[in-house]
C-alpha cells in the first residue's frame, strides 16, 4: 500500500472512528482523535519521501499525489501545529457539546491541508481545498454565535475564491487536457496571452481569500474569533498558509513566466502592504483579544503576501520563513487566549487583568510569542522581518518598506495591549479563582513558543529546508551564496549576527521584569480598577478605571480617517443591493397562474418574432 494512501486512510478512518466513538464516550473519542493525528504525523515523517508518487485516474483525469520538498515545509506547519492543537483541544474542549462533530471536522481539516500539500495535480488540489473550506466552516460555526453573519461571510468568500480557482483550473484543463501542476508549468508559456494574464489572477483570487489578502479579508476576523480557539490556532496558523502556499506556487512558477509580470507583483505586494497596515490598525482598536489576534493575523499575512509577491529569492525565503514562524507564534497566542477564555470565561482585554501570577506558564508562552510577533530580537519574528526589509530594499520598494515598517512598529501597540491587558496590571477579586490551565493545554503552548524561540536563534534549522523547497520551485540553488544573501546571518548561517547583543537586551529586560514583579509582591495594596473610593471624583457606577480603557485614544484619533472606510461596509452595501435586486427579480413569480400563462405567450411571441434570428 502506498504510504500516501495509507496516511489518508488513517486520517479518514480516524475521523470516522472518532465520530463514532463519540457516541460511546468522550474520552475514547478524544483518545482516537489525538491518536489519529499522531499516527498520521509519525507515519508521514517516517514513511513518506519526496519521491513517493501515487497516481490514479478518476473520471478520465490523471491525478497524482506526492510530496515535494517545498510542500514538505508546509507539512511541518500543518502537522506540527495540528498535533499541538490536537493535544490542546482535548482539555480545551472538555465539557463542550458535540465533541465528535468537532473532532471529526478537525481531523478532516488537517487531512485536507495535507491533501493540498500532497496533491500534484490541480483537481485533487481543488477537492482538498474545498474539503478544507467546509470542514473549517463547520468549526467556525460550531458555537453558533452570529453564525448567519460570520459563517455565511466566510463560506461566501471561500466559495468565490474557490470558484475563481476552479474556473482557472477548468480553463487550464481545456487548454492542455491535463491537470498536473508540472504540465502547467511547462506549457504555461504556450497559452494565449490573455489566459496568461487571467489565469494567475484567478488563481491568486482563490488563494488570496484564504490568505486574507486585502480586499478579500473581511471574513477573517470574524471567522478567526468565532471558531473555538483550539481550532483557530490551526486556522490562522496553518490553514491560511495554504493560501500562501498557493500564492508561492503561482508567483514562482506561473507569474515568473510572464513577460510583464512586474505589474501583478507590484499590485499584490502593495495589497499585502496595505493589508499589513490596515490589519495592524484594526487590531489596535480591538478590545477583544480574539479579534485583536485575528486582525493581527491579517496583518501578519500581509507581510507574508508582500514577500511572496516581490518574489526575489530573499523575499520568498523571508515570506516562507515568516509563514512558519507565524504559525508558531500565532498558534500559541490563540491557544493562550483559549486558555484564558477557558479559565476566566471571557477574552475581553478590559475586563481580565493581572493573570500573571495565576497563569505564569501561559504568560511565558504568551510573552515569547508576543516578542516573536512584534519582531523584537532575538526571537524569530525579528529575523523574518529583517529579511523582508532587506529584500524590499534590495528590490527598490522603498515606500513599501516604510509601510511595512510602520505596520510592524504600530504592531507593538497591540502586542503591548494584549500582554498588558491580560497579564499585567492590577489584580482583581473577580479573577481570584483563576488557576493555571491544565498541563495538556500549557505544554503545547510552551513547546510552540520554544520553537519560535529556537527558530529565532537558529533560523538555519528551517532555512535549509526552505531553501531546498525553493529549489524545487525553480529558484536557483543558493547553496553557494545563500548565507550571503542577508546581512543578518553569520557565516555559518545557523545563527544571527546580532545574537549576543540581543541576548543582552533580553536579559536586562527580563531582569527588570522579575525585579519589578518581586518588588510588587511585597506590601502593595491592590486596588481594583473598579474601586471608586480611590479618587476624589465620583465616576459612574461601573465605569472601568483601568487605563486599558481607550488605550490608544490619541493614536486612534490620528488614524481615524483611514479606519472609517471599512471595506466591510462596502461589501455589506453591495450584498444588500444584490439581495434587493434579487428580491425585485423574483417578483416575476407573481403567484397568479394567469400571469404565468401570459409569460408563456410572451415567450412564444418573442420566439416567433425572432425565430429567424434564433434558428438560422
Amino acid at each position: 500500500m502506498n504510504s500516501i494512501v495509507l496516511i489518508f486512510g488513517v486520517f479518514l478512518g480516524g475521523a470516522i472512528l472518532t465520530y463514532l466513538a463519540h457516541k460511546l464516550s468522550n474520552i475514547l473519542s478524544s483518545a482516537f482523535f489525538v491518536l489519529t493525528i499522531f499516527t498520521a504525523t509519525v507515519l508521514f515523517y517516517l514513511k513518506v519521501e519526496t519521491g513517493d508518487v501515487f497516481s490514479f485516474s478518476l473520471n478520465g483525469l490523471h491525478l497524482e499525489w506526492g510530496i515535494t520538498s517545498f510542500s514538505w515545509i508546509f507539512s511541518l506547519i500543518v502537522l506540527g501545529l495540528g498535533t499541538m492543537a490536537a493535544v490542546y483541544s482535548i482539555s480545551f474542549m472538555k465539557g463542550k457539546e458535540r465533541l465528535g462533530y468537532y473532532y471529526f471536522n478537525f481531523i478532516l481539516g488537517i487531512f485536507s491541508m495535507m491533501g493540498i500539500l500532497l496533491s500534484r495535480d490541480l483537481v485533487s488540489f481543488f477537492i482538498f481545498w474545498e474539503i478544507m473550506t467546509w470542514s473549517s466552516y463547520m468549526i467556525v460555526v460550531y458555537e453558533g454565535r452570529s453564525v448567519q453573519k460570520i459563517g455565511i461571510k466566510y463560506i461566501l468568500f471561500s466559495a468565490m475564491g474557490a470558484y475563481a480557482m476552479l474556473m482557472a483550473i477548468v480553463i487550464i484543463y481545456s487548454q492542455m487536457q491535463s491537470v498536473m501542476i508540472e504540465d502547467l508549468i511547462y506549457s504555461f508559456s504556450s497559452f494565449s496571452i490573455s489566459y496568461q494574464i487571467w489565469l494567475p489572477i484567478l488563481l491568486l483570487t482563490g488563494f488570496g481569500v484564504k490568505a486574507a489578502m486585502m480586499p478579500l479579508h473581511v471574513w477573517a476576523p470574524g471567522a478567526y474569533s468565532h471558531a473555538p480557539m483550539a481550532y483557530t490556532s490551526v486556522f490562522s496558523g496553518a490553514l491560511s498558509k495554504m493560501g500562501v502556499y498557493g500564492m508561492v506556487l503561482v508567483f514562482s512558477t506561473l507569474i515568473s513566466q510572464l513577460p510583464e509580470h512586474t505589474i501583478i507583483r507590484e499590485v499584490v505586494a502593495w495589497l499585502g502592504g496595505i493589508t499589513a497596515v490596515m490589519g495592524t490598525l484594526w487590531a489596535i482598536t480591538q478590545d477583544d483579544a480574539k479579534k485583536l489576534l485575528a486582525y493581527s493575523s491579517v496583518a501578519q499575512l500581509g507581510y507574508i503576501i508582500t514577500g511572496v509577491a516581490i518574489g526575489t529569492e530573499l523575499a520568498m525565503l523571508s515570506a516562507i520563513f515568516l509563514s512558519v514562524l507565524h504559525a508558531l507564534f500565532k498558534g500559541t497566542l490563540f491557544m493562550v487566549v483559549g486558555a484564558i477564555e477557558k479559565q476566566t470565561g471571557t477574552t475581553n482585554l478590559t475586563e481580565v487583568t493581572g493573570l500573571i501570577r495565576k497563569m505564569p506558564w501561559t504568560f511565558i508562552a504568551a510573552l515569547m510569542s508576543i516578542i516573536a510577533l512584534a519582531g523584537i530580537p532575538p526571537l524569530g519574528g525579528f529575523v523574518g522581518k529583517w529579511m523582508l526589509y532587506e529584500s524590499l530594499i534590495g528590490s527598490d520598494h522603498y515606500i513599501l518598506v516604510i509601510l511595512i515598517f510602520f505596520a510592524s512598529t504600530a504592531g507593538f501597540l497591540y502586542c503591548y495591549k494584549f500582554l498588558f491587558g491580560f497579564f499585567l496590571g492590577q489584580e482583581e477579586k473577580e479573577w481570584d479563582h483563576v488557576k493555571e490551565a491544565p498541563a495538556s493545554m500549557v505544554v503545547p503552548m510552551l513547546i510552540l513558543s520554544f520553537f519560535s524561540f529556537l527558530l529565532g536563534t537558529f533560523p538555519g534549522l528551517i532555512l535549509k529546508p526552505i531553501d531546498q523547497g525553493m529549489q524545487s520551485l525553480g529558484y536557483v540553488p543558493t547553496e553557494g551564496h545563500f548565507w550571503g544573501m542577508s546581512v543578518l546571518f553569520n557565516e555559518w548561517g545557523n545563527a544571527v549576527v546580532l545574537q549576543p547583543i540581543l541576548y543582552a537586551i533580553m536579559a536586562v529586560f527580563l531582569f527588570f521584569l522579575v525585579f519589578l514583579t518581586l518588588k510588587g509582591l511585597k506590601g502593595t495594596r491592590y486596588v481594583t480598577t473598579k474601586d471608586i473610593s480611590s479618587s476624589g471624583e465620583v465616576p459612574g457606577e461601573f465605569e472601568n478605571l483601568s487605563y486599558k480603557q481607550n488605550f490608544f485614544q490619541p493614536f486612534l484619533r490620528a488614524v481615524e480617517p483611514v479606519m472609517k472606510r471599512q471595506i466591510d461596509k462596502y461589501y455589506t452595501g453591495i450584498g444588500n443591493g444584490i439581495e434587493a435586486f434579487f428580491n425585485y427579480v423574483r417578483r416575476v413569480y407573481s403567484g397568479n397562474g394567469q400571469t404565468y400563462a401570459i409569460y408563456v405567450i410572451i415567450f412564444l411571441v418573442i420566439l416567433l418574432l425572432f425565430k429567424n434570428n434564433l434558428f438560422g
Binding site: 413569480y589 403567484g591 397568479n592 397562474g593 394567469q594 400563462a597 401570459i598
Partner: protein, 137 residues
C-alpha cells in the same frame, strides 16, 4: 342520386381561419378572464380549436370517411388494387385517430381542472384568480 360533389375549395381558408380564431379566442379567455371556470372554459375551447385544425389537416378534397363499409365495397373482390383505389378516395385516418385521443385526454384534463376549481372555491370562497395567490415569489 349520386354524390353531390361537396366542393368547398372556395372556403379554402375558412376552416383554418376559424380554427385559429377559436384557438385565439380560447387563449384569450384563458389569459384574461378572471373567473376560474371561465379559464377552464377557455382551455376547453382552445382544445376544440386545435382538434378542428388537426382534422382539417387530414381532410382530403372529395374524400370520404376511411370506413370500408359494404356499401362502399359493393361486392368488389378484396384485392390490393381495389383497396388502394378506395383508399385513395378517403381522408387521412391518422389525424382522426389522434383527435380521438386528444378529445378524451382533454376531457380528462377538464374534469380534473373543474374538480380543482371546486376545491379552490371551498378553500378561498371566491373564483377570482387574482385573489387566489397565496403562493408567490
Amino acid at each position: 342520386m349520386d354524390q353531390i360533389s361537396f366542393d368547398i375549395s372556395i372556403v379554402e381558408y375558412g376552416f383554418f381561419a376559424s380554427a385559429i380564431l377559436v384557438i385565439l379566442v380560447g387563449l384569450y379567455g384563458a389569459l384574461v378572464k378572471k373567473s376560474l371556470i371561465k379559464i377552464v372554459i377557455g382551455l376547453s375551447i382552445l382544445e376544440s380549436g386545435v382538434n378542428l385544425l388537426l382534422i382539417t389537416i387530414g381532410y382530403i378534397q372529395g374524400g370520404t370517411a376511411p370506413v370500408f363499409s359494404p356499401q362502399l365495397l359493393k361486392d368488389m373482390p378484396l384485392t390490393l388494387e381495389n383497396i388502394k383505389a378506395l383508399g385513395n378516395e378517403m381522408v387521412d385516418p391518422v389525424p382522426q385517430a389522434l383527435v380521438l385521443t386528444a378529445i378524451v385526454i382533454g376531457f380528462g384534463v377538464t374534469a380534473v381542472a373543474l374538480s380543482l376549481v371546486i376545491r379552490l372555491y371551498r378553500h378561498h370562497h371566491t373564483l377570482v384568480i387574482d385573489e387566489i395567490k397565496n403562493l408567490k415569489w
